[in-house]
Subunit: 483 residues, 2 copies
């Protein structure tokens, strides 16, 4: 360690050896997040929040294309309002944080901290929607949801407050609402693959696993390297389940009053957890380049003052060229730290590209360019340093392809209950015929711990239900244990 | 009213006649915001939120220039932590919302809903800051603050939860922290004038009016048309008041441990309230063009199907030309509504530029362009429609100049206590010599309702204190009643 330098403590667990410990170390040591003083709550540090801001900006642009606008809802919801849709409410009750006092005064109707905003949004929608002219109404909220977690919490994956977006739409017809739910799911899948390089399976949740209050829940699911599935996002067709109790009624084109058709949909900072798990390695974080807060770091190498001036001048030139090419770049000019220390530090933080420039490179006219995901080294002429920009597209494609290969290798078919149980035990998705009954689904869950994660669009059809042997009509679901 | 059209209910109060009622009607009828089901809480609708997003984006760019990064802190703060800085805590106690239960279980240490994040941020900073290498640390949080309002609430101005940003920095030296607080205040002033066209007075708060826990509070104040002052933003030099109790200590360059020097600073959605009050008129909202969600609306005018096709084609061309020039533009193609109805609707919503195009305009080759702030009409050749882009800069300057003239006419000097009391009664800022004693300040407040809003930078010096007659050494403060 260099004199005066901070201790760099790398990741001491391996991804294959102790996945859970490895994950926690990456989150904390790459400084994405930290534990808040309240158990189960998390602080997002600037590098972590920057990834969230990048996703937000991409999703905002996608949502805007579909006519969605952002707005703000307060954190507090009266208990009486939250309970108006009884089934929905029952689903959240054990997790709700309750405000009972303001200052020394007791509040009358207890106030819930938003576990989700359907109740509050739809109370407002009922006021705002009068006629077909007010439809479709599409509003998205970037906020947090608060749900007291009783199980063991985990940064990004299971926390009692999480950053997310929740979109809520209202439509004139069932068809329009159903199409909306489908379109948003496709947007989610595209952003996950296009920004985070995480391949997902698109499909539908079973009745048992759907969002309480929804008619149908569409979902995108991903497979983590430890063999557990992760729900990446959901898009719900709500039918008129909320518009009836909340009175969201509109005068149609014939001036007949009708309840609106609705959808709601969301993704959370869980996406960042998935990104860490899917791409990280034993050295630490590996950031998909499009969401990386910093995309390229230039590490100047010198051992005396004379070389320093020349190397730093070149580093400055390369920085300017990279920025001009639209690359988020930085020169690590920290004094008193060795190049080796800096290499390890930036690898731990997952920066996609490292550029080394020292006296020998000045002579050869080339920089050493190291890509984080495969740790490959190349020599790039100084004048072509802007090629880092297009190299990042290649990196993205390689990371996505590797993750897709992993997803495929971890998705297997089972024709019998015994095979299902055995495959579930070893992790991954298990595709198996199912008759459609909640009883069979429940048996699998109780006996193997695997639930139906998603019934894929266009999946294989037919076969005998692995649980009861009755013929199955629909597409075979993917079973797995999950986060 | 056109057949099938919604009723347009314009503003029924006048700005000069019943300012308070006028304000509320503009907020609600221009659809910037609405009341939430919990008293004192507000929902921000898409047009209102869009203004907030515009301010956020401008401030983010400004903050980034100063090395500030964004991050996320959770909503809940344990009571034990919040109370660590006793004076600070005492200032918030009556307003804190307390969570006592999650689900059916009682929580141990009560959890406060964030009234402000000093305590939580600094608990984290104490963990993150080890040495001078970690400084300066500059993080900003876009979140909400929750403070139960007992007084009458008002949209944007006094609500129990409000959107804001809070920046928190830590530095090696007092000088650097003081400079930071000053630089942020200047950024605030520049954004308020440059984006919202609201002139502000920069200066310092008195000891009595400063943020509890700060060594010194810098502030920007504005004057509203009803004669009441509005605090637009504050920037606090915290000294070591928090770093000592929270243990934010760093090893300096000589490896000696020292408490860091700190600042915190924030602006809230109050800025939107100020914008409404300063620029609005009896027709409704008047939006400064740079923050307007929609900057130009094209209203096609036709009375038969033949004209319709030609007019709509031209409207489409103008729309394309405006968008190509970077103007946020829209064609109001709603059917069944008269042009007059549409004009009133867009005036109520404050859209800066209205462009009318009808059959006669097609013949003359010119559109009628109406600017919202002065309701001036001009004829602009179709080919020059992109001039709307530069016209908006002129609009901004005119709105700022008008607001500045109003501020100046509402700022008067008083040499005696009687004059001060009389001028306070009629509204506006009153500049008056003050000896600096809290007793004299308190007497003015108790007897006239005016407090020291700000001690302006570079203000007039000297004179006899209006309250006690003793000579005053410092610059004369501005007294006013305020929001």
């Amino acid at each position: 360690m260099a004199k005066g330098g901070p201790p760099l403590v790398g990741i001491t667990a391996t991804k294959s050896g102790d996945f859970s410990e490895w994950y926690t170390q990456v989150v904390l040591k790459a400084e994405l997040a930290d534990y808040a003083p309240v158990k189960g709550l998390m602080v997002l540090r600037p590098d972590g929040y920057s990834i969230w801001e990048s996703l937000r900006s991409t999703l905002d642009a996608e949502f805007a294309k579909g006519g969605v606008r952002n707005a703000f809802l307060p954190t507090l919801i009266p208990e009486s309002l939250l309970s108006r849709e009884a089934e929905h409410f029952a689903g959240f009750v054990p997790e709700v944080f309750w405000v009972t006092h303001s200052g020394d005064a007791e509040v009358g109707d207890r106030l819930a901290l938003r576990p989700t905003s359907e109740a509050l949004a739809y109370e407002m929608y009922a006021r705002w929607i009068k006629s077909w002219r007010d439809l479709p109404l599409r509003i998205n909220f970037w906020n947090t949801a608060l749900r007291a977690e009783i199980k063991a919490t985990r940064p990004f994956l299971r926390t009692s407050e999480f950053l997310w977006q929740e979109g809520h739409t209202a439509h004139e017809t069932r068809e329009e609402a159903e199409a909306e739910a489908g379109r948003v799911l496709e947007t989610y899948a595209r952003v996950m693959e296009g920004e985070l390089a995480i391949p997902v399976v698109r499909g539908t949740k079973s009745e048992r696993e759907k969002f309480v209050g929804a008619v149908r829940t569409l979902a995108v699911e991903a497979m983590m390297p430890d063999g557990k599935a992760l729900q990446m996002g959901t898009s719900h067709f709500l039918g008129q389940n909320f518009s009836v109790p909340f009175g969201i009624r509109y005068a149609d084109r014939d001036n007949v009053e009708r309840p609106a058709w609705q959808t709601s949909w969301g993704v959370s900072w869980r996406l960042i957890g998935a990104m860490i798990m899917v791409h990280g390695d034993d050295k630490g974080l590996v950031l998909p380049p499009r969401v990386a807060p910093l995309q390229a770091v230039i590490v100047p190498i010198y051992y005396d003052g004379d070389a320093e001036a020349r190397v730093m001048a070149k580093a400055g030139e390369l920085l300017a060229a990279l920025r001009a090419a639209g690359v988020r770049a930085h020169v690590d000019s920290r004094s008193g730290l060795t190049p080796g220390f800096k290499f390890n530090d930036w690898e731990l933080r997952g920066v996609p590209v490292r550029i080394e420039v020292g006296p020998k490179d000045l002579e050869s006219g080339e920089a050493v360019v190291v890509t984080r995901h495969n740790r490959a080294k190349a020599r790039v002429p100084f004048g072509e340093i802007a090629s880092v920009r297009s190299a990042m597209d290649a990196m993205h494609s390689e990371m996505l392809a590797a993750a897709r290969a992993s997803l495929e290798s971890m998705t297997r078919g089972a024709a019998s209950y015994a095979e299902l149980a055995r495959l579930v035990e070893s992790g991954g998705f298990v595709r198996a015929p199912w008759c459609g009954s909640p009883a069979c689904e429940g048996r699998v869950k109780d006996e193997t711990g695997a639930e139906i994660r998603v019934i894929p669009d266009g999946g294989a059809q037919g076969g005998a239900c692995v649980a009861c042997g009755k013929p199955s009509a629909g597409p075979a679901p993917l079973f797995a244990r999950g986060y």
